[in-house]
Structure formats: C-alpha cells, structure tokens
Symmetry: C2
Subunit: 492 residues, 2 copies
Amino acid sequence: MLKSFAKAAKPTKEDIEERLEREQAKLAANQMRIREAKVPVMVIFEGWGAAGKGGVLSKVIKDMDPRFFSVATLDDKPTEEERMHPFLWRYMVEIPQEGQFKFFDTCWMEEVTHDLASGLLDKHAYNLRIDSINMIERQLVDNGYLVMKFFFHLSKAEQRERLDALSADENTRWRVDEDDYRENDEYDECLQVYDRYLRDTNRSSAPWYIIDSKSRKWATLQVLEFLNMGIEVAIHNRGVAAPLRQNVFPLTKMPPLSSIPLDKTMEDDEYRAELKVLRARLQELHNVVYRKRIPVIIAYEGWDAAGKGGNIKRITSALDPRGYRVIPIASPEPHEKARHYLWRFWQHVPKAGHIVIFDRTWYGRVMVERIEGFCSVNDWMRAYNEINEFENELVEAGTVLLKFWVQIDSDTQLARFTDRQNTPEKQWKITDEDWRNREKWDLYETAVNEMLQRTSTTFAPWHVLESVDKRYARIKAMRIVVDAIEKACERA
Amino acid sequence: MLKSFAKAAKPTKEDIEERLEREQAKLAANQMRIREAKVPVMVIFEGWGAAGKGGVLSKVIKDMDPRFFSVATLDDKPTEEERMHPFLWRYMVEIPQEGQFKFFDTCWMEEVTHDLASGLLDKHAYNLRIDSINMIERQLVDNGYLVMKFFFHLSKAEQRERLDALSADENTRWRVDEDDYRENDEYDECLQVYDRYLRDTNRSSAPWYIIDSKSRKWATLQVLEFLNMGIEVAIHNRGVAAPLRQNVFPLTKMPPLSSIPLDKTMEDDEYRAELKVLRARLQELHNVVYRKRIPVIIAYEGWDAAGKGGNIKRITSALDPRGYRVIPIASPEPHEKARHYLWRFWQHVPKAGHIVIFDRTWYGRVMVERIEGFCSVNDWMRAYNEINEFENELVEAGTVLLKFWVQIDSDTQLARFTDRQNTPEKQWKITDEDWRNREKWDLYETAVNEMLQRTSTTFAPWHVLESVDKRYARIKAMRIVVDAIEKACERA
C-alpha cells in the first residue's frame, strides 16, 4: 500500500486554510452528532518517526470539546507490567465509551511492526498478532465502534530533513532519539514491514488512510477530511447488523443439562479429608503459578442458589490473598454498558502469575442479556463466536482458563430459596429478582444449553459441577483446578 | 480455517427433518422479502470433489420460485474464449440482478486454487488473484449485494468413500473423474491450498461458512440455516453506506479544465496528410494487435457536441470491422440498473486481440448520476476508487486502456447547438435534454475536474482532446492511439 501510494496534489495555501476552517467547524458539529448517536470513536495515529503525529493531533482537537475526547499515549514498547498481560490488553482497557473520541498516539501497529523488525516476533508469531488485530478491529466495528486508522507517511529524505531540523533546535532535540535515526537509516527495510502490516490489516470494516505528512497543515486537513467523512458514514449506519460468523474453533461435546444425573453425593468424612489434601496441593501450586508467571482465570456461572459462593470460598481458602482476586459481576454500570461488552472483563484479566476468579462472567451476554432483551438478537448470536475469540486470545497468551457451570434442578432451587426466605440470617441472599428469574427457568435452560454447546472449546471447555450435594461440587471443582494448574506448571 | 474446523454435533434424524422443513419454508418467505427489498444475492458453493454440492443445491432450491433464482455452472477450467478475457470477466457477466438469487456451482475459488495447486500461478500471481477477489467481493457488498460463500468439507476417508460409491454405480460413474481421485490422493496438499485460500478471503463483508458434508440432509440444513440468517441480516442492513477508501493508485497530475488553452488548430492540408499516415499505421497495427492478442479499450467522454462521434469515426475508419466494436452508452436499462453499475461494461470488455470503443462510459457514475442524484453521495464518492480498481483489473490483464476527454468551451457548444437546430439534417442530433444539460455546465465542470483529478492513474491516464478545432482533436487522438498500441505491440 505504501509502495503504491501516490500523494494527491497538495492544494494551494489559501485553499488549505479555507478547507481547514471548514473541516474544523464540521468536526465540532460532528462531535455533537457522535455524542447524540452514541457512537464510540477510536482514532489511531501511526506512522514514521518525526512525521508530526503529535502536531497534527493538537490541531485536530483544537475546536473539540475536551469533555468528549481523550488521548491515549502508548509507548511502542510495553512496560514490564503490560507484558505480563495478553498482547491486546493494554489497548483494550483504553477503548472509548459511546459518544466519546479516543485518540491513540500509536496503537498495536507500532508494537507489532517494531517487534517484527527487531526479530522479537517470527513469521508465525507475527501472523498470530495480525489475526488478533483483525479480530479485535472487526469485533469493535461489529459492536458499533467507528475505527479510523491513519498512517503518517514521509519519504526517506523528508524524514531525514525533519530529524535534522528537530535535532538542530535545542528546544526540540528531546523529541528525537536514536531509534528515529535508525528508522531513517533502515528506511527501506522499515517500509517493507509497514507496507506489509498495512496490507495485512486493511479491511473494509476499518480501512487505512495514508496521510502525506510533508506539511503539517496539509496533513491535518487530510486527517480532518477523512475523519469527518468516516463519522458521517458511521452515523448513517447506526444499528447495522453485523454478519454472523461460523465458529471455527474445535468444540468439545456437551450433553444437554437435562441429561446430567444430579444424584452424585459425597460423605462428609470423605469430603473433609479430600478437601484437606486438595487445599494443601493448591496452596503449593499457587507459589509455582506465581514463580512461573502463569495467569489463571476461574469463571463461575450457574443457577441462583446453586452454590457458587461456597464453591469459590473453598478455592480461595487455599490461596495467598496477595495473589488472587474475586470479581463479582453484577449488571453493568453505565460507563461499562457504554463500551464493548467484553471491556469490563478485559479490565480484570489477570497478569502473569495471578489468579482471578469471576463470580458470573461475560456469558451474561448470551443468558440474561439475551433473555431480557438487553441486546439485539444479532448481538447475542454474534457473541458466541466473539467470546470464543476472546477466550482464545487469553489462552494463546498462556492463561489457564477454567469455566464452571454449577448445576442444580428446579426443585433444589425452590427448596434453597424457601430456606433462605425462612432463615433470618440468609434473607439478604434472596431477592424478588431471584423469584422472577426462577419463573424463566425454561428460557434460561434453553439459553444455557445453547451456550454450553457453542462455547465449550477444546482450549476452554465447560465443566458442569453437579451441586445438589454442594460437597461433591466443591471437591470436583478443586480437583479440576488443581489438575489444570498442575499441567500448566509442568508445561511452563 | 479448515484445519481448525470442528464439526458441530450432528442433530438427530428427526431434528434434522423438522428443522429442514422449517428452514425451507423460511427460505421461500425470505425469497419474497429479498425480491421486495431488491437485494441481489450471490450464493457461492465451493468444496471438495464429490462433497455433494449439486445434491445440496437441488434441495436448497426445492421450494424456491424458479422465476427468482438461477444457477451458474462454471467449469474449474476456463474455456479458450474465457481465457482471452480478464480473470474476473466470466464471473462478473453472471452476477445476479436485484431481488434475484444466483447460485454459483463453484466460482473463483475453484479456478484459483486449481491454478495454484497445478503450478499455473506462482506465489505473486496468486496474491494478485486474491487481491482481485477481495476487491470484487468488497465492491459487490458495498454496492448492496449479499455474498454467501459455502465450502463443502469432507475428510480424506469420507471423500474416498464417496468416490468409490459413485464409481461403483454405473448411473453415477460419470460424475467422478481422474481429477477427483487425484484430489483424494493429494488430500493433504489440497487441504493446505484450500485452507490458505479460505483464510486469505475470509473478510467481514463476505465471510466463509464451512459445511460438514458427510450427510446430504445435514449439509442442506447447514446451508439453509446460514443462508436464511444471512438474508435476514442483509434485509436489516439495506441502505448501509460503505466506508470510503483512499485511492492508493499512482495518479498523474491533471490541470483544471479552465486552464487548458483551446486555441489549438490544424490546417486542412496538414490534417489530411497526417490522417492518411496515421490511418495506414493504425490499420497495420490492428493486425499486430490481433496476432499478439492484445485487448484494447478506447473510452470517450466529453461535452455534448464536442465531436466524439466524428473522432471515433476517424479511428474506426482505419480498423477491420471484424476486429472492433463501438459501444454507445445511454441511460442504463432496468436490468442494467438492477446490477452493480460496472456490470454493463464488463459485458463489453474485449477479448484479447479485439478493440472496443466506448462512446461514453462508466464515468457516468461520477458525472450524470452524481449531478442528477441517480445514486447516493456515498455511491459516487466511492466510485472513483471502484473505477480505478476496475481499470486496474483490465490493465493488469494486459489491456491497452485509453481514456479521452473531448473538451470544448461553452460558447463553442452554443454555436454547435444552434447550428444543429438550424440545419434540418442535423436536427436529430439535438434534443431538449442537451439544452437542459447545458444549463448545468458549471455543475458538470466541477464534477469533470474532480473525476480527472481522481481517476487519472499512471496505468490509465486521461487525455484531454482540445476539440474546438475538431481536426486537431482527431489527429491528437489518433496519435495517442497509435503510440499506445505501438508500445504495447513492442512489449507483447
């Protein structure tokens, strides 16, 4: 793309001034339309060193209302802390909420092209990164985001000239470093890498715009014109249904819930003895997890009153509190609802060596949100694949990901609800909403069965915990956790 | 994609029967909705030999109204005639019109994967094909098409079993050929090629659906379910504006029309002498064009009464009538309007060795259609890039493509209009519409300037013919034609 890129004729100075004024006014107006239309806008600036990204950015935001935009300045090299998370994490925690602009002064392109050029990524690893980026850009757009990607282009001579000018002035010298000069020395090699990346990620959902960056004003004008155009198309297209994609991840076979026998029990003696052994083993393993820097996610879903809380407690009782967190998931807050539905879970993705336990999860999308109509049919149907992709990202980054469905039958739930109602110290645990959800048991059962069928991948299978006898369920969960972590520690 | 593809659990026989009935009824209803919504639907079947594409197809169309669908059966190997056209040609002439389904029993995938596997395409040529396919699938979707792509998948053993069963029965033996067995023998190599292709062309605008083809009924059900889902999304998304893409083709600099001096003239003697020489040379060259199998397109645009007709006549007077055609372009007919706007021009793309002269062209999209509002703003703004892509396809296929803008000033037009009005034998040449268009001169001038700026690529630049003196314009055109063809003949 860069190699075949031909600059448009640069307009006259007067023409640029006039159009700049017009486009800046348009952006100020479009910003309000974006706010009203509740579209979240990601604007990504990438390009050659010294191409003037920062300068253009300050011009672009000149007339924007600062309440409705912010800037994420990400270094091309992730920090130690960031490296302990999946590749996409440091970007995903930064995505804007609806009605807001977020400008990324370099994003995933910078990191990936640097890592490829420096040999940190081989061809295979690079291709995996490209897959991740195309996946997440598609997911963002499918979920209503406008993603505008700009590449600031300079010729070798133009870059050299810029660098020399910046170095010559002691006020700007700090903006130039060795890497910039190295990029200029190895311009042709860098061009290859950039060109390949642009080609690999130039998709209809988020195409690239190449900006001739020789003059700052002209570059600003190009960005503004493309941005305004993108906004107008995005506002026109609100409510578009994205095509559903077929699952291409290998699945494990899940039986329907109704066929799972729930008569499994465990005697108290056996339970206590087993618990003791498993707890000791898990305690040991937690150290290894930390030492070997393995991230662990344990995700709980299940019927109300199925015994999730008690089950989680048995796991955490074996863990060092400095090395784990339990994240209870309730209805999303307004600022969470205003972003990609997986964003609030990305926030809690553990860093390497840490354990995060989710008490309810991202599967709310295909259960409560589906049943209560909190999202469109297209949204939850698309979510199976999006969730598989999300979990695949985590697992590819080395995460041990365990998913538990805590299962009871409807009669058991009724008995436990009644018990809660009648026991003063348990009454806080039961609400009107629990009773209302109970009335929708059949709808939930259909949704849960579909969820288990479609998202039990070989890399993140569902485990059903038969929890009419809670002791049985707790021991089963702990065994699965211990086994999985043990295997991961051996591999690591 | 194939390598990681995991079959969904096959439903029970009863379940399949029940769902088949439901989906078939749904398709019958959706067919009417497609008709009403005026969406053109391309359904592409690709896959392993003997995977049962034909059988599934006959089940899918079972309850469809035959007035609203048709089937294109394209051989994996293009005919001699087809090979004399650009790669996409034989497919593009087959695209459906709005409200209609067209089933492609194999499409461009079959041809490209075959040619790659057999070594007919090297890596570079293969990548160009992939670019063409991604481009055209995007263009189709951007212009309102629903493109559903199915790959019929079988394991090596399943395919072998099918082939043997077909060969054993003398009624079906004809359906199996050597190529099918070769594909089975070289299953793993073919899998690599197919997998690569699916990955390379799996875009949001037209994703792949992989069909587990072991059982015909189950395969039919999968196709029907995906197809109905795709239709529902497409109907929901009618009127979506596609993102505009930046031009990445190298452009030549075009001056604004107003700056072009129109005082060029040519004396009659010189004109006659020159014409004679050029005509003789063009006559010779036409033979070489034919012998060396060079396709030639000469495209004329210009003001009414600028002298296009006379200019074309001077060219054709040198040509053997068996080797050229003049295509006058008027407003599109209903069946043309109902398809991608470039379709009617694909019909006339010359085969190798032939010359086609267009009297007005596909540039109507960014002139009359823009000015009269016959398409949306997004449509004509997108068209610059789409046209550059279209012309790039032609030129990459070896076509000599010449584009003439026949230029006069407004006063000259008025004089010629008045002359036509006052001369009985010329009156047929002037209509009320010409006068109406004349009133929009300024609008046209803006549109033409923008068109010249944005579509004068290095591989297909615009040539302005100053035609106040028609003799000058004719000689200039012939010189350009002769030069360009001469050069192409030397290269060929």
